[in-house]
Amino acid sequence: AQTVTQSQPEMSVQEAETVTLSCTYDTSESDYYLFWYKQPPSRQMILVIRQEAYKQQNATENRFSVNFQKAAKSFSLKISDSQLGDAAMYFCAYRSEAAGNKLTFGGGTRVLVKP
């Protein structure tokens, strides 16, 4: 079974600075997708960024970018120019092409943004 591990329970960043969240996963499959979801306090979880395993190029969405290292099974998220609205729980998630749309989530990292 696939597992997703986020080793940082909490990260703190100064406003306008950069923070990197780590995620590792374990799988024997070659075709899969990786996601970072953001869950603000008392608000719904939203997709931040996604990466398809067959793509070597790292995904980027505005201030959010990933460092996808397929051989190392690592998928980190970098938040640049951090804003107060970035404060949230961030979940890394894995989805296998063979398992339909089932997501396996990591345990989450809480990001605190200091003004």
Partner: protein, 115 residues
């Protein structure tokens, strides 16, 4: 705006008293999901519907049931809630089950308290 709506946002029930949580969507998606998220943990998939086809996760307790009377609505029934069932319950939707561009859209969740 098209969205996933969950009612109520907070639900208090008594130990052993059946409770129903509600989810509706205006996205006209085929797939609806229910997740359980305990405090500071990753969301855990309980089951999903593809249209009217119900799919239970192997480790979902029998105490949890679901109904989907039409495309828009899906209900989570907890027949005899125990203290361990206190959690945030997340509803999500996706257009299809599988496919390279599929993404899940989450509702804000219902926080269940069992007294």
């Amino acid at each position: 705006d098209a969205m996933v709506i969950q009612n109520p946002r907070y639900q208090v029930t008594q130990f052993g008293k059946p409770v129903t949580l509600s989810c509706s969507q205006t996205l006209n998606h085929n797939v609806m999901y229910w997740y359980q998220q305990k405090s500071s943990q990753a969301p855990k998939l309980l089951f999903h519907y593809y249209d009217k086809d119900f799919n239970n996760e192997a480790d979902t307790p029998d105490n949890f049931q679901s109904r989907r009377p039409n495309t828009s609505f899906c209900f989570l029934d907890i027949r005899s809630p125990g203290l361990g069932d206190a959690a945030m319950y997340l509803c999500a939707t996706s257009r299809e089950w599988g496919g390279r561009r599929e993404t899940q859209y989450f509702g804000p969740g219902t926080r269940l308290l069992v007294l």
